[in-house]
C-alpha cells in the first residue's frame, strides 16, 4: 500500500510511504571528486558503465522511478529508520548521543537502501542477473533479497575466509535463492571478492548488473551509491531538527568502503556539523594489520578508482585486517578521500579491541547490539571521543547494521573480553548513578 504522497516536480523531492527523498545531490565532474574517483576498468566494461550512468541520470530525475524507490524504502525496507536519543550512553559518555538506526532496516543494515535502487535500475536496463561482492555478508544478503523481490538471478562472491566467519549469512543468501561463490584467491577476503565479481561481470556483461555494495569502484558507482544512501543523512538531519530545532555538532560513522558514512555525511555537508569517519584500526595503526586506508594509505588505483589505498612502495595492494569483515578492505570510496583532503571530514580509527568495547557498551547501555562495523564508531566515541569532541556536544552515530551476524564469532572467539567489558560498563554506570 502506498501512503499519502507529495511530489514536487520542481526539485524532484518526494514524500511517499513516510519516506522523504531530498532532491538529487551534486554529480562529480567527469566522474572525479577532485583528483579521486574516475574509471579504471577493462575496456569491455566501459559501455556497461556508460549505460548505468545514463540510466541512473535519467531515472534519478524521473518522478516515477523516485516514487517506486521511495515506496520500496518505506513499504518494504521499513524506512524511515528512527533516530534514537540514547540517554544512558549520553550520561555515560558526557556527549549527547543519538543513533541513526539503520540496524532496524529490513535485512539488518543500511545496505538495503543501495541495493533496492540498483535492482530497480538493473530492471530498467533489462538485466536479469545481479552480481555482488560481500564481506560481512550484509550486502550479499541485501542483494539476494532484492533479486528475490524482483525475480532476478543472483550470484554473490565472498572471500572463503568470510564464508567461514559468516556462515549464517551464507545460509541466508542461499535461502533467498542466491548462489554464493567462495573466493580463494589472494587473501580470500572482500578485496578478492571484488576482483572476482569484476571478472564475472566482464564475462557476463550482457545480462548482468554488478550491484556494487559501497561508494567505491569506477564511476558512476561512488556517486550513484551515495545518492541511494543519502536518505540516511537527509532523514537524520530532519529528525534531529524536529527534536532540537538545530543541527548536531558531530556526525560519526564507521568506514570500510564508506557507504553508510557518505550516506550520513551527505545530509550534513551544508550544515555546521563536523563529520568524523572511523576506520578499522585492527591491531593498531603502528602494525601492518589494519584497514585504515585514509590514515595510512597512499593514492593509488584499485578496483576501478583512484583513491587512498593500502599499498607497498611497488604499488602492490596490501591485505587489510579488521575484526569486522565489512571493514576488511584496503581502499576507501573516493569521495571520502576528497573530504579528507579538503578537511570537510576528519578520519580517525578504532582498533579491534575498541570495537569489542563498543559492541559491549552499546549492548549493555542501550539494549542495542551493534554490528561489529558500527561498534567501531561507538568504541571510538566512548574510548577516544574526548580527545576530539567537547563534552556536552551533540553527536549522531550511524548504527550501520545490527550485531546478530557477529554474535557467533564473538561468542566463539572473544566471549571473555566482551563479557569483561560488559562488567566494566556496568560498574562504571552504577558508580555514575551513585
Amino acid at each position: 500500500m502506498i501512503g499519502q504522497m507529495m511530489v514536487s516536480s520542481e526539485d524532484f523531492s518526494i514524500d511517499i510511504a513516510g519516506v522523504h527523498l531530498d532532491p538529487p545531490g551534486p554529480k562529480p565532474q567527469n566522474g572525479y571528486f577532485g583528483e579521486f574517483g574516475g574509471r579504471y576498468v577493462p575496456e569491455t566494461l566501459v559501455s556497461a558503465l556508460d549505460q548505468i550512468s545514463q540510466t541512473f541520470d535519467r531515472c534519478w530525475n524521473d518522478i516515477t522511478f523516485r516514487k517506486e524507490f521511495a515506496s520500496l524504502l518505506g513499504n518494504y525496507a521499513g524506512r524511515p529508520s528512527p533516530l534514537t536519543h540514547c540517554k544512558n550512553m549520553s550520561s555515560f559518555s558526557g556527549f549527547d548521543v543519538y543513533l541513526k538506526r539503520e540496524d532496524l532496516n529490513h535485512t539488518g543494515s543500511h545496505k538495503i537502501n543501495n541495493v533496492l535502487g540498483q535492482a530497480l535500475l538493473a530492471r530498467e536496463m533489462g538485466k536479469t542477473h545481479l552480481i555482488a561482492e560481500t564481506g560481512a555478508g550484509q550486502h550479499g544478503v541485501a542483494t539476494a533479497t532484492a533479486a528475490a523481490l524482483l525475480g532476478m538471478d543472483c550470484t554473490v562472491y565472498m572471500g572463503a575466509v568470510d564464508v567461514a566467519r559468516q556462515e549464517l549469512n551464507v545460509f541466508r543468501m542461499e535461502l533467498l535463492g542466491a548462489k554464493v561463490v567462495p573466493v580463494t584467491s589472494g587473501s580470500s577476503t572482500l578485496k578478492d571478492a571484488v576482483n572476482d565479481a569484476m571478472r564475472a561481470w566482464v564475462s557476463r556483461v550482457d545480462d548482468s548488473h554488478y550491484c556494487l555494495g559501497s561508494v567505491m569502484g569506477p564511476h558512476p558507482f561512488p556517486y550513484m551509491v551515495r545518492e541511494f544512501q543519502r536518505v540516511i543523512g537527509d532523514e537524520a538531519r530532519e529528525q534531529f531538527r524536529e527534536i532540537n530545532n538545530s543541527d548536531p555538532d558531530y556526525v560519526l560513522a564507521c568506514i570500510g568502503g564508506g557507504s553508510n558514512a557518505i550516506g550520513a555525511f551527505s545530509g550534513f555537508l551544508d550544515t555546521g556539523a563536523k563529520l568524523i569517519g572511523v576506520e578499522a584500526g585492527g591491531q593498531g595503526l603502528e602494525t601492518s594489520k589494519h584497514g585504515a586506508a585514509i590514515s595510512k594509505g597512499a593514492i593509488g588505483i584499485l578496483h576501478g578508482m583512484k583513491t587512498d589505498v593500502l599499498q607497498d612502495s611497488d604499488g602492490q595492494i596490501q591485505e587489510a585486517h579488521s575484526i569486522s569483515a565489512g571493514l576488511d578492505y584496503p581502499g576507501v570510496g573516493p569521495e571520502h578521500a576528497q573530504l579528507n583532503e579538503t578537511g570537510r571530514a576528519t578520519y580517525v580509527s578504532a582498533t579491534d579491541d575498541e570495537a569489542l568495547y563498543g559492541f559491549a557498551a552499546a549492548s549493555q547501555l542501550e539494549g542495542i547490539i551493534p554490528a561489529l562495523e558500527s561498534a567501531h564508531a561507538i568504541g571510538w566515541l566512548l574510548r577516544n571521543g574526548k580527545d576530539v569532541i567537547k563534552p556536552g556536544s551533540s553527536v549522531i552515530v550511524t548504527m550501520s547494521g545490527r550485531g546478530d551476524k557477529d554474535a557467533n564469532t564473538i561468542h566463539a572467539e572473544h566471549k571473555e573480553t566482551v563479557i569483561s567489558y560488559v562488567q566494566e560498563v556496568l560498574k562504571e554506570r552504577s558508580s555514575k548513578k551513585s
Binding site: R39, Y40, V46
Partner: protein
C-alpha cells in the same frame, strides 16, 4: 612514427601475420621462456609485470602473478633483468595502472626506456583515463597500445583507433584472459570494421588458446596475442621449454596458413 608502430606496420606490409606472446615476469623460467618464444617464431613479446589484483586476468595468469610476487618480484628489478637480456624482438610491458602509477608515470619512463621497452599495455587504463599519460609519452619512443572490445561504443571507437600506438589490441571475447573462446559469427562481425578503420595493425587477444583459434582470428586480423597457454606450461609442465617450443611452432604454422593480409 614510434619504433613499435614501424615494426608492426612493416610486418603487415610484408604480408606477415604477427604472433605476440605473453609471459609473466618473475616466475621460474620466465627469461628462458621469452628467449624460447622469440627463437621459435614470436614477433613481439609482451612481458607481464605482476600486480596483486589483476582483474582482467583469469586464474592462470592471476596465479602466476601471485607466485611472482611471493618470489619477491619487484618492478624495477624485473625491468633491469629485461635490460640485461637484450631480447632479440620488440618488448611490450603489460601491467596494471597502479604498478606504474605508484612509481610515477613520468619517473617510470627512465627504467622502461633503459630496459628497451617499446610498448605498454595497461588493461585498466581506459582511453579516457590515459589522456595525461599519452601526453607524457608523446616525446618518447614508448607506444601506448589501446584496447578495443566488441562492447566498445561507436562513439568511442574512432578515438581509440586513432590514438593507439604500436598496434591496436582487439579484445576477442567478452571475458578475461584464459577463458575458452567460442568463435561464433559475432567475431566475424565486429573485427572487420575495426580493421578497416585502423591504420595500425590489429591484433586479437584474450581467450585464444589453440592454434586453430589463432588461425581463425588471424584470418580476420593482422595477428594474435597468446598468453595463458604459455604461462600454464611454464607453471605446470616438467619440461616447459620443450612444450613451449612445440606449441609456438604449431602456432606459427597455423597463423602463417591463415591467409594473407587483404
Amino acid at each position: 612514427m614510434k619504433s613499435l608502430s614501424k615494426y608492426t606496420t612493416s610486418l603487415q606490409a610484408s604480408d606477415k601475420k604477427a604472433i605476440v606472446t605473453y609471459i609473466t615476469a618473475g616466475i621460474d623460467g620466465w627469461i628462458d621462456a621469452v628467449h624460447c618464444v622469440i627463437e621459435n617464431g614470436a614477433d613481439v613479446v609482451e612481458i607481464g609485470l605482476p600486480f596483486s589484483d589483476p582483474v582482467m586476468d583469469g586464474p592462470v595468469i592471476s596465479r602466476a602473478s601471485s607466485i611472482a610476487l611471493s618470489n619477491g618480484a619487484k618492478t624495477l628489478d624485473l625491468l633491469a633483468q629485461i635490460e640485461d637480456e637484450s631480447f632479440a624482438k620488440p618488448i611490450a610491458v603489460m601491467t596494471y595502472a597502479n604498478v606504474l602509477y605508484s612509481h610515477g608515470f613520468e619517473e617510470i619512463l627512465t627504467p622502461l626506456t633503459s630496459a628497451g621497452v617499446s610498448g605498454l599495455i595497461i588493461p585498466d587504463l581506459t582511453f579516457e583515463a590515459s589522456e595525461s599519460f599519452r601526453e607524457i609519452l608523446r616525446g618518447t619512443d614508448i607506444s601506448l597500445v589501446q584496447l578495443i572490445a566488441s562492447t566498445t561504443s561507436d562513439l568511442r571507437r574512432d578515438g581509440i583507433i586513432e590514438n593507439s600506438e604500436g598496434f591496436l589490441y582487439c579484445v576477442a571475447i567478452k571475458g578475461i584472459t584464459g577463458q575458452d573462446v567460442e568463435l561464433t559469427h559475432k567475431y566475424t562481425e565486429f573485427i572487420p570494421p575495426i580493421k578497416a578503420k585502423s591504420s595500425l595493425p590489429v591484433y586479437c587477444g584474450v581467450g585464444i588458446r589453440t592454434p586453430d583459434d589463432a588461425k581463425k582470428l588471424a584470418s580476420l586480423s593482422d595477428g594474435v596475442i597468446i598468453g595463458t597457454t604459455l604461462v600454464e606450461k611454464l607453471l605446470n609442465d616438467k619440461k616447459p621449454i620443450e612444450e613451449i617450443t612445440r606449441y609456438i611452432q604449431e602456432l606459427r604454422q597455423a597463423v602463417d596458413e591463415s591467409g594473407s593480409n587483404s
